[in-house]
């Protein structure tokens, strides 16, 4: 009797082992996913929460999300890992890093994974302005995720104080100068105590803010292939001249370069009545402003316009076919209308598809924070962020030359001519 019992037990165990292969077939696909943090707030917690939720609904995929530092750190880590043979399969990196990543051979396009009609519908659902930084040579290399654009924040209380209508922010360059003059105040000793406007030009974002001046002036700075720049065109030089004049001629902006990081602080303590910065600062300003503030689109010169910015999903070349498919599922899920809306509300980034703005969540949020829609409406006239081959080098030389104008070391014509010839030299091998 006992023997029979044991035999059955063995048989049962053997059966369990025979069934094992079936179990091992559904072993989850593992993915490494690098992401940066570039705005305030508990971003890592939000990302981890979204990953957990994704894993619950997709038990066959396991995502290892790795916080990789700033954008700059993240691309450095991802490329170093790639060169060392242990690249992540998926990463969120700057949309402008696209050409660098392609030149290094590190990423693959998403196109082969887009097979069904549903996929195509998803792919065509993003704002065109965001896709401009995600496609080149007819292929889609990046999927918009944490995207932003430049908007103008203004202090309504200071507008009232200066006798301006707080609901009518300047909408053209002439109005901008006129309003800013009224908003610039000096004390009895002639010291400026309050500036009309600050456009940050220090650090590495000068070129981006510059695009908020060139785009309305009807100047495009580079081609879609990323191997040609147009920096010495008259419209571009005009834009540099205007930027310079704001500080030196109209005296409504501090002279020298203005730090990117301290500009929001200047605005929050009322040292500047208007500032131009990323929509990513919306949550920060909303939480910390002790005054009524407004958000406005970029003032027009010939028309409106602003560059987009922020990060895209990239698929790395090192991923196996299964991993690519799994990564694709994850990217589709993260950018679905519901999740894009949740991400936008939590961070202040612009939700990446019109469908996301149609969700109930987003509608409720817009009711509470109407300023959020300014960025969305501006997307109609937005252009791609400045991005070329050997991107960091080209943007750096553009930044250097812009800063040399703002510190009065070069004339706008000279600086842009220098920038053009230096960029031509760098881009020659990519033609």
């Amino acid at each position: 009797m006992r023997r029979i019992l044991l035999n059955t037990l063995f048989a049962g165990l053997a059966g369990a082992f025979c069934a094992a292969p079936a179990w091992s077939q559904s072993k989850p696909v593992e993915l490494e996913f690098y992401y940066p943090v570039a705005v305030g707030g508990p971003i890592t917690k939000i990302v981890d929460g979204m990953v957990d939720e994704f894993e619950k609904s997709h038990p066959d995929i396991k995502i290892k999300s790795i916080y990789a530092g700033s954008y700059q750190d993240s691309v450095a880590k991802a490329l170093t890992a790639y060169k060392g043979g242990s690249a992540p399969q998926l990463a969120v990196l700057l949309s402008t890093d696209m050409f660098t990543l392609i030149d290094e051979g590190a990423i693959v396009p998403f196109d082969p994974l887009i097979k069904t009609d549903e996929d195509r519908k998803w792919h065509d659902g993003f704002y065109k302005a965001f896709m401009a930084n995600s496609q080149t040579g007819g292929k889609t290399w990046g999927i918009p995720f944490q995207r932003s654009t430049i908007v103008m924040y203004y202090n309504k209380d200071l507008f009232k104080e200066a006798g301006l209508n707080p609901d009518a922010p300047p909408s053209t360059w002439d109005e901008l100068v006129a309003d800013a003059k009224k908003l610039t105040k000096a004390d009895s000793a002639g010291q400026t105590t309050q500036w009309g406007l600050e456009i940050p030009s220090g650090g590495s974002f000068a070129y981006w803010l510059f695009q908020a001046l060139t785009t309305p002036n009807d100047a495009i700075l580079m081609n879609q292939d990323g191997n040609e720049v147009y920096l010495d065109k008259p419209a571009v030089i005009e834009a540099v001249q205007f930027w310079h004049d704001l500080a030196y001629k109209h005296k409504v902006m501090p002279t020298g370069t203005i730090d990117w990081g301290t500009t929001p602080k200047d605005f929050l303590v009322g040292k500047t009545a208007m500032m131009w910065t990323t929509t990513g600062n919306l949550t920060n300003v909303r939480k910390n402003a002790k005054f009524d503030f407004g958000v406005a689109p970029m003032p027009k010169a010939k028309h409106g316009g602003s560059p987009t910015g922020g990060g895209n999903f990239y698929l790395f070349e090192s991923a196996t076919p299964e991993q690519r498919q799994a990564a694709f599922e994850f990217v589709k899920w993260m950018t679905s209308p519901e999740n894009a809306a949740a991400w936008s509300i939590a961070t202040g980034y612009v939700a990446v598809s019109p469908a996301a703005w149609e969700t109930d969540k987003m509608k409720a949020y817009v009711k509470e924070v109407p300023q959020a829609t300014v960025a969305r409406d501006q997307l109609e006239v937005s252009v791609a962020e400045f991005s070329t081959h050997d991107n960091q080098r080209v943007t750096k030389l553009l930044n250097d030359n812009l800063q040399s104008v703002l510190t009065n070391a070069k004339t706008p014509e000279q600086a842009m001519k220098d920038a053009q010839s230096q960029a031509d030299r760098i881009l020659r091998p990519y033609k």
Binding site: Q72, A76, L79, T100, D103, E104, G105, A189, Q191, T192, T193, S201, G202, G203, S204, P254, T255, G256, T257, I258, D259, G261, T262, K265, D266, V269, K271, D390, Q392, R393, K396, N399, D400, N401, Q403, S404, L406, T407, A409
Partner: protein, 310 residues
């Protein structure tokens, strides 16, 4: 220096042992050196040689492997205005921060070496900047330098001086960074001077005073020569730091405006990890390496001869 005790004395002495002794000794010695040698070779010598080798190659990109390009990288460096600017900035930076911070350290050490009320507190206050991480320090100073409501401008405002955009003007950006370095380094060097001062026997001072030497003479003729080994050590450290510490550049100015505050190492970082031009970054590193080796050589050859070790 006392001669080292013969290690092999613990080896049992017999004929065979006596014959094997020299070679065994050598093996034993090499084994003792091995851990340090492996670390030095792997993390110092090999990277230095690899850097030199890479500086004669092109940067590998995608599926284009590196090829030998001779002195091309050096020629483009010679023609690179940003390199020259970074080099001059760094030399000016070293030429000002090193003497000032060392002199300040000595003065502070002499000051807190005396019997003062609250001496411990004073020493701690001088030393605190050293303990703080450079990145944190740079973020604090960033707001000191902020125009209008920054600490410096608020003080200037009390005296009716005009507001200055310290980090945003090309002629003040680098001096502003120097200030942070001096503030941070002086306290660190003070500790070494303080330790050295406490080693100086009080009898020397008494003897000097008996001989009728003035305080200045005692300082100049007795104390300073006795502090020379410390000064040498501090100078080497200061020089290395002048070329090594760039955290504050990254946080405060990113080398701007228009490269006015770019230092050599920051430029290397930028070329290496922003532009991904690793071959050119290696070339720049070779220059940095050469500068540091030459100064170290001069110091050990020349200053050592004039330094009195007790």
């Amino acid at each position: 220096m006392p001669s080292p005790r013969p290690i092999a004395s613990c080896v049992p002495i017999n004929n065979a042992g006596a014959r094997m002794k020299p070679s065994l000794n050598a093996v034993y010695g090499w084994l003792l050196l091995l851990p340090a040698m492996v670390l030095l070779a792997a993390f110092t010598h090999y990277p230095a040689l690899a850097t030199l080798w890479h500086s004669f190659q092109s940067t590998p990109k995608g599926n284009r492997p590196a090829v030998y390009v001779g002195a091309d990288n050096y020629i483009s460096m010679y023609q690179d205005p940003v390199f020259w600017q970074a080099l001059w900035n760094n030399l000016a930076y070293a030429a000002i921060t090193i003497p000032v911070s060392v002199a300040l350290a000595l003065v502070m050490a002499l000051w807190v070496n005396r019997n003062l009320a609250g001496r411990g507190f004073l020493r701690m206050a001088y030393f605190t900047p050293t303990v703080l991480p450079m990145v944190a320090v740079a973020n604090i100073w960033l707001f000191f330098y902020t125009p209008q409501y920054g600490l410096l401008d608020q003080i200037a405002h009390v005296f009716g001086l005009s507001s200055t955009n310290w980090l945003g003007k090309r002629d003040t950006a680098l001096p502003a960074l120097m200030m942070v370095t001096i503030w941070k380094e002086a306290g660190f060097f003070m500790i070494f001077y303080l330790a050295a001062l406490q080693q100086v026997p009080p009898s020397l001072r008494e003897a000097a005073m008996l001989e009728g030497a003035s305080r200045w003479q005692y300082f100049w003729r007795v104390l300073l020569p006795l502090l020379m080994p410390t000064t040498l050590f501090v100078l080497i450290n200061a020089l290395i730091n002048a070329f090594r510490l760039v955290d504050h550049v990254l946080v405060m100015t990113k080398g701007g405006p228009d490269n006015a505050s770019t230092l050599l190492l920051f430029y290397i970082y930028e070329v290496g990890f922003s532009y991904w031009d690793t071959a050119y970054a290696a070339t720049l590193s070779v220059v940095l390496l050469a500068i540091l080796s030459i100064t170290a050589l001069i110091k050990f050859r020349w200053l050592d001869r004039r330094t009195h070790y007790q």
